[in-house]
Symmetry: C2
Subunit: 303 residues, 2 copies
DNA sequence: ATCACGTATACTCACTTTGAGCATAAATCG
DNA sequence: CGATTTATGCTCAAAGTGAGTATACGTGAT
């Protein structure tokens, strides 16, 4: 029974550039960076940190463990040696340069970007396909329909941006993503529907990371790890919107940021954009000490 | 470099009996149940489930992955083979019988039970010891003092029951728990302060589980996994209070439970207690389907 | 019987939070 | 100069949240 188990560290490394949330990828965008866990590392976290910084020369701001994956039937190859993947989420500053190796995460999840309204892709392709899948469910039909509505925000249910993972899993179950087709016998009635696929279960890991980050920005001041040292409030807002995949009410966003005293003015202003120049702010690092524990809610617009 | 890495599954198995939150333990309370990860398992989760149910004959309701631990310096023995522990949180129904093997989690964390006000232990022993530790911190003094206040709810800061892990880690750093003394050279000024210790880093894992559960009950209807099929609202409340380690405003608790339609009447009443008989309720399993996603907030009393 | 006590429920109330809209100010661009 | 764009200040209503008050309905003791 006790064969060797390989342990890998996988990183979901996130940055925001040009208004797009990006994830670091290899192989032209099909794989997340990963490496073997080495016994020399004192801690898993430090192992990952070392390894990412060596490989990317990016300073890693925030790091948190995401999840440990070991499902046998998700690798795509049954015969592959059993691997345990410990996935981490890492946040880093945008650099502007070296866009290579960073892909917008909406390439993989086009249905997740609701910044300019619900993507037509959902209404045109995904919803009908999922409806067919629910239909074919026999006694499970009704249950499936409910799940579909709840996760994709159909039929009156509001869109919940934190359900990224559940949506991906649903599409997987329904055989609508390429990764699912790999694991099952090909069937005429199933075809991958949308979004770029990735190696093994990397897209699932990415979905986990997105979901976690979308949840986290609402109660912890982690967005700042993704921002340059100085920024305008609109830039900050755009960053949050990029991550959340939906728009934010501007005035309320500012109210919140100021109420919570997350930032302080630098005294300078920026006139890079059109319109009235905006004040520049910097993150008040003091808040990390003050309220490392408390909450930081971000108001998302209803419509 | 590539030596074999052992992978263990560790379970934080929780039940509530007699108004006390309990965790399943072995060796008279010093160890959490754990077992090797077997390659035969399709999923980590199913591996754990199989193994716990075989060992305890308890049906496992809710299972969720907690965290993967691999810190080298926390096992207590430097020479031990490197082990990766994947910890899971499991919830199960109270059975009434076989109390053996279940310990109240407040045996390990006596400072976490605030149901009858802040434990004197904090004021008498922990706060002074932590103050001394902060004092001894040199330039870090102030930072340490702030951390202490924030995590333990001192000097005006409100108590936050979700910080169980942070509190344990703080006590560990300050050398005030037995586990910390194991790893360091003995020093005259350091003595374990309170709470029963456990093997290796099991107490840390338990702290992680408690923290997670305390957070979770506020936005997901998981308490019901710990309840018998029929219960009164007060029993439900007591269960939540046992987990949270603090009291709840009765009327608001009921308002919430009813608003969210989490339960439905069975038609029967219970007169096991003194006072007016209470209606019996059962969990509306429908909510799991309806709003598997939405929130379930639980109102905790301020004082 | 009735009184004290413990529990169960029903309502009220003030305050905060949150989503949203209106209005004005200060720049740029033709 | 007027249109456009961005920044920023202020108001408002609805919902949520942490309490408190009052009353109903059982039990067991006197």
């Amino acid at each position: 029974m006790e064969r060797a188990v390989a342990v890998d560290l996988i990183a979901v490394l996130v940055a925001v550039t040009g208004g797009e949330p990006r994830v670091m990828t290899l192989d032209g965008g099909s794989t997340l960076p990963s490496g073997p866990f080495e016994l020399a590392h004192r801690t898993l976290q430090s192992g990952l940190r070392d390894w990412v910084e060596r490989q990317t020369h990016h300073p890693l701001g925030y790091v948190e463990q995401l999840y440990t994956f070991a499902d046998r039937d998700r690798t795509g190859e049954e015969s592959a040696p059993r691997t345990i993947s410990i996935a981490y989420l890492g946040l880093t500053r945008e650099t502007g340069e070296e866009e290579r190796g960073w892909s917008s995460w909406y390439d993989y999840f086009p249905w997740e970007d609701h910044r300019s309204g619900p993507p037509v892709l959902i209404e045109r392709v995904i919803a009908p396909a999922l409806a067919r899948w629910a239909q074919a469910g026999g006694v499970l039909s009704e249950e499936r329909r409910q799940r579909v509505s709840a996760t994709f925000g159909l039929e009156g249910t509001p869109w919940n941006e934190e359900l990224t993972l559940q949506r991906y899993e649903l599409l997987f179950e329904a055989g609508l993503v390429e990764e699912a087709l790999r694991c099952a016998a090909p069937r005429a009635d199933r075809a991958a529907v949308a979004g770029r696929s990735m190696t093994a279960d990397h897209r699932r890991i990415l979905a986990t990371g997105i979901a976690r980050l979308r949840a986290k920005i609402k109660y912890r001041p982690v967005v700042f790890e993704l921002m340059p040292p100085h920024f305008t409030l609109l830039q900050l807002q755009r960053c949050v919107e990029a991550l959340a995949g939906r728009l934010v009410h501007k005035q309320n966003f500012r109210r919140l940021v100021e109420q919570q005293e997350l930032v302080e003015e630098t005294g300078e202003t920026s006139s890079e954009t059109a319109g009235r120049p905006a004040k520049l702010f910097r993150f008040r690092h003091a808040v990390l000490a003050e309220r490392a524990m408390a909450g930081t809610k971000i108001p998302l617009a209803r419509t």
